[in-house]
């Protein structure tokens, strides 16, 4: 394998992007992306994640702040002069060129000899499993194949940073899993720095070394998938990464690292995360409830859905509905049943009370 990585870190220092006069797409963000890591920018539409990605690519120039790739200040460098490749949501394969011409395209601008260009392009195609497809036109390939051509086209340039803009959104569910695993494999085998934009949290959790959750032009939280899932910084992150039930609670006492809380009659102990006694919110994943716990709160089953590997329940409580998942598919609860619900000892997380989602 002669396709190697020259992975470089990416650094954002107080970067702001303003469109026109006053549309702030990205608001003064600071971000460090380590070399050789796959970092995902995750967030709802319009949160600024694509703009951030395009600023790395050089397709947008930051209005304020500095961007570094490696130790070079690239803030004002145009896309052409950056050692960055990008895979587009629409793949952006050139319809008038064959597959091999598409893959060779970037190489012809990098000063390679013709024979080396051809060899590298073929290696790139082989890497994505499309050996022998070189003479086809993009329109003669399936969506998944087109996607892989786009990846090969970006990869053969051995970029310092490889960018993906929602690369899986045009693929069907089964293909999605396969392609994302392929991407992850290639990234890890070659040690590439990859920045990946998606709005699909499951995809983000699956492929990332680190996830950057973005909201309203800013960064909400940065962390490893597990960190974000288990310890969301706020209600927004908790809700966006996996599903979470947000339940109002009262912190009655804090002893060192441990807080004592009450929800109605339910009492529970969990890490305090620096909070002080008073009203708070509790984020609970649907899997972190204990159905039929002895000291649980009484809840009534409103909906019950069988989805094969598990049961999904919607339960009515005095503070609203909660969504609960149970592994027990053999003795399901029926609609109208009342059940005592407790909390797992690990999993639920305390969040500040008056925060706007």
């Amino acid at each position: 394998m002669s396709i190697n990585a020259k992975a470089a870190p990416v650094s954002f220092r107080n970067v702001t992007k303003i469109y026109g006069k006053d549309v702030v797409a990205v608001d003064s963000i600071n971000l460090e992306i380590e070399a050789g890591k796959l970092v995902t920018l995750l967030g709802p539409s319009g949160c600024g994640k694509t703009t951030t990605l395009r600023m790395i690519a050089g397709l947008e120039i930051a209005s304020k702040g500095k961007i570094y790739i490696g130790d070079q200040d690239v803030t004002l460098l145009p896309a052409t002069d950056r050692d960055v490749s990008m895979v587009f949501q629409s793949y952006a394969l050139f319809p008038h060129m064959s597959v091999i011409e598409n893959v060779s395209y970037g190489l012809t601008f990098s000063g390679f000899e013709k024979s080396e260009t051809r060899d590298r392009a073929h290696q790139g195609l082989e890497l994505v499993g499309l050996k022998g497809y070189g003479d086809r036109l993009p329109s003669e390939l399936s969506g998944g194949q087109q996607q892989r051509v786009a990846v090969a086209r970006a990869l053969v340039l051995e970029p310092q940073v490889l960018l993906f803009d929602e690369p899986l959104s045009n693929l069907d569910a089964k293909l999605r899993r396969q392609v994302r695993e392929d991407i992850r494999d290639i990234q890890q085998n070659l040690g590439l720095t990859v920045v990946y934009v998606t709005h699909d949290q499951e995809e983000a959790l699956a492929v990332s070394d680190e996830i950057v959750v973005m909201r309203n032009a800013g960064i909400a939280q940065v962390g490893a998938p597990r960190e974000l899932y288990d310890a969301p910084a706020d209600r927004f992150v908790a809700d966006f990464i996996g599903e979470a039930n947000i339940i109002p609670c009262e912190i009655t006492d804090v002893q060192g690292e441990t807080a004592q809380i009450t929800i109605g009659t339910l009492k529970h102990q969990l890490p305090a995360r620096g909070m002080v006694p008073g009203p708070a919110n509790l984020a609970v994943r649907p899997t972190r409830f204990k159905l039929g716990a002895a000291d649980g709160l009484a809840m009534q089953v409103e909906k019950a859905t069988y989805v094969g590997s598990r049961m999904e329940y919607t339960l009515a409580t005095s503070f609203g509905e909660v969504f609960v998942v149970s592994e027990d598919v053999d003795a399901p609860l029926a609609i109208g049943d009342t059940v005592a619900v407790g909390l797992d000892s690990i999993g639920p997380v305390l969040l500040a009370a008056n925060e706007n989602p």
Partner: protein, 738 residues
């Protein structure tokens, strides 16, 4: 693997322009030389002779010392050669050097002319200047380019347009040439609107000419005659509408019907574009005039007196519709082909009938094309001069009024300027109406994904009338052209119908003798000149037009709207005005090109560039932007992206621009009348001389020959352009999508 250039090495583009500037200043003759490319000057006193000396030699000999300051901006960029692009000093120095150099070039060029100081206040301020200068030559031209592009590199380094040197330089280049060859001459001409009889300036003069009843009268509503302005406006709207509808019909038949003779139809639509002016008008007179074949036939049939119904609005309308429908077709065919079939297929699967698909999806997606076609028809009609002249009768329009204000018995340049302003404001209005209608919707239909659908056929409720109208029109076109051809092979058109080839003989005879072929025909001289000029102008026009279209669709920058309007301006102004304004502006230094072939080429480029721009815009707005972006992130710069991704996908637009500009250069008349010279006589000007002299046979034989020549050139271009790029094969490919 990609070298990041700005860090380790000096920027090669910058080095190139620094060297170019020095070559221009130190090696090439600074002032214009007649017959530069015969290189007689090299053996004729160069580099010391005053007339042939480069700028540096002039200064060294103590001459033209006002050129000395150029050394500063020429050498200044050397200071930053080793600095990084991102260094603020780099951009500052380049901007300063470029601005100083270019600014001083303009200041000295306009201040010192062939009679010393150009302005009396300068003479008062600096004393009499015992020297003078002629028009700038290649040395000055290359220096000017060097200053300009050093300046744009500075601007780019500051981060403008994402720091893209190609884009910033293109914008700079287009702005400068449009300013020099469109705004400057037109401004010079239009100031005449404010000049009083004794040479002063006055608003009142303008007002009295502007509010003339002959211009704005509404007499036609009460049975009298309307003002010229209303006539022109009404005619242009009608022509714009009719040509768009007919152009659309032809485009639909070619792309969305099972009609068997599409190719014939397609070829037929090209004919009127390649017809020299006056010819269609003359043919229409022979058919429908007072003694025309058709008129007499029907007059006999119904026993009525033949009338002069053709002269006036009907005749001009028919002739212009005949002449300009192909332009609408050329614009629309690209767009109609470009509408993504999968959108239409999607609509069909959503239970829309063929008719509903057409009405709700296809037609709205063709909007940019329709709007552009209408705009072109409107502007063409406004600026057309030949047809109203022959067929207008008492129906006066602005373009002919402008012509006769200048060359008629009144010699009233001020009136011409006022009329030109009115015409210009109509064009401006149409331009903004078009933008308003298109709004901010997206009409992108070609994305980065392969598209494998097939265009559905038109609904039959539509195809039958469309086919009928188009075929009727086609038949009419054929009759008109048969008449023209017939006219070239009879003794005296309309009087003596003996068949003869003598007109062709007079024009194009050749003789073979010892020295080879002798071109003895009367028309050869102007024929070769015309081919040469048109051949040079066409590719330049296409290049400038498409680069401009690329800037307009793909880049955002301050002043884009003004930029777009500027590029459309020259098209909207009748050729007559352009012709006179070019003489006014380019007969004296700093740009002194009257009487050369250059002025013809330049006038064609800027007259016809807007068609390339419109065609390019219409096609490019259908190409998804991610295609360019992906090319950029793959390391191609924007020039390479333009050349390797956008151009190949723009085949129809390129062809339209090339064909149109070539053909227009061959057939243009109104601007050319003023710009031809003894050495550079053009075919159309020769033909008109013949018509004036009653040599209808010769004129029409020449025109017919031109038609055939252009037809073969157009076909050849179609082959060449088609061969380089196999086209958007994706649209025909068969693939599956997820």
């Amino acid at each position: 693997m990609k070298r990041v250039r700005s860090n380790d090495a000096a920027n090669p583009v910058l080095i190139f322009w620094i060297i170019a500037g020095l070559v221009g200043f130190c090696l090439l003759p600074w002032y214009g030389i007649e017959d530069f490319f015969q290189f007689e000057w090299l053996t004729d006193g160069y580099p010391f002779d005053d007339d042939y000396a480069p700028g540096a030699f002039l200064i060294a000999q103590g001459q033209k010392l006002w050129l000395a300051p150029f050394l500063v901006p020429l050498l200044m960029p050397l200071l930053v050669l080793r600095r990084a692009k991102t260094d603020p000093i780099y951009s500052k120095i380049l901007i300063l050097a470029g601005a100083l150099g270019f600014g001083w070039l303009i200041i000295q060029g306009f201040s010192i002319g062939i009679r010393g100081w150009n302005f009396s206040w300068m003479e008062a301020a600096f004393g009499e200047l015992d020297d003078r200068q002629f028009g700038m030559g290649y040395g000055a031209l290359i220096c000017a380019s060097s200053f300009l592009f050093i300046f744009t590199q500075g601007i780019a380094a500051r981060g403008a347009i994402n720091g893209d040197v190609f884009v910033v330089s293109s914008i700079g280049g287009v702005v400068v040439i449009v300013t020099a060859f469109v705004f400057f001459p037109i401004a010079k001409m239009l100031t005449a609107a404010f000049i009083t009889q004794d040479g002063g300036y006055s608003l009142a003069v303008f007002a009295s000419k502007f509010f003339d009843d002959r211009l704005w009268g509404l007499g036609c509503l009460s049975g009298g005659r309307c003002g010229v302005a209303w006539n022109s406006l009404f005619l242009a709207v009608m022509v714009g509408f009719l040509t768009t509808v007919l152009g659309l019909f032809f485009a639909l038949i070619v792309t969305r019907s099972g009609f068997r003779y599409k190719k014939v139809l397609r070829a037929l639509t090209v004919l009127p574009v390649i017809t020299p002016p006056f010819v269609i008008g003359l043919a229409l007179i022979l058919l429908f005039g007072l003694s025309g074949t058709v008129t007499v036939f029907f007059a006999d049939l119904f026993g009525v007196q033949p009338t002069r119904w053709l002269y006036g609005l009907p005749g001009v309308l028919i002739a212009q519709t005949l002449a300009f429908t192909p332009i609408a077709f050329l614009v629309l065919i690209g767009v109609v082909e470009g509408v993504s079939p999968s959108m239409e297929e999607a609509a069909q699967t959503l239970r829309a009938s063929k008719w509903q698909v057409f009405k709700t999806v296809s037609l709205p997606l063709m909007r940019p094309g329709l709007a552009n076609a209408f705009l072109l028809g409107f502007i063409e009609s406004m600026a057309d001069f030949g047809n109203p002249l022959v067929l207008g009768g008492n129906f006066d329009v602005l373009s002919t009024e402008i012509f006769f204000a200048i060359v008629g018995a009144q010699y009233d340049q001020g009136k011409a300027a006022v009329l030109a302003m009115v015409l210009l404001s109509f064009t401006l209005g149409a331009f903004y109406a078009q933008r308003f209608w298109l709004g901010k919707k997206s009409y992108t239909t070609v994305s980065g994904k392969g598209d494998s659908g097939v265009h559905p056929h038109m609904p039959s409720a539509l195809s039958v009338p469309v086919l009928m109208i188009a075929l009727g029109w086609a038949a009419f076109t054929i009759v008109v052209y048969l008449m023209i051809f017939y006219g070239s092979v009879v003794e005296l058109w309309g009087v003596n119908n003996t068949l003869t080839l003598k007109h062709y003989g007079t024009a194009f005879s050749v003789r073979f003798d010892d020295e080879g072929i002798r071109w003895t025909g009367a028309a050869w001289n102007s024929f070769w000149t015309t081919l040469q000029i048109a051949g040079i102008a066409a590719p330049l026009t296409a290049i400038v037009g498409l680069i401009t279209a690329y800037l307009l669709t793909r880049q955002t920058f301050a002043g884009k709207n003004a930029f777009e309007f500027g590029t459309m301006l020259s098209f909207a102004i009748p050729g007559t005005v352009i012709g006179v304004s070019y003489i006014l502006a380019f007969n004296v230094p700093p740009i002194e090109i009257t009487g050369t072939g250059i002025i013809l080429v330049v006038s064609f480029i800027f007259r016809n560039m807007p068609v390339g721009v419109r065609a390019g815009i219409a096609s490019m707005s259908q190409l998804d932007k991610s295609l360019d972006e992906s090319s950029l992130t793959l390391g191609a710069n924007s020039w390479q992206t333009f050349r390797r991704v956008i151009l190949p996908l723009l085949r129809p637009a390129i062809l339209a621009a090339l064909v149109y500009s070539f053909v227009r250069a061959m057939t243009a008349i109104s601007a050319v009348i003023f710009l031809v010279s003894a050495e550079y006589d053009m075919a159309t000007s020769y033909i008109i001389g013949r018509v004036e002299n009653n040599d209808y046979g010769l004129a029409i034989a020449y025109s017919t020959t031109l038609i055939f020549v252009m037809l073969s050139v157009v076909l050849a271009m179609q082959l060449i352009v088609g061969r380089i790029n196999i086209g958007r094969r994706a649209a025909n490919g068969s693939g599956e999508k997820t």
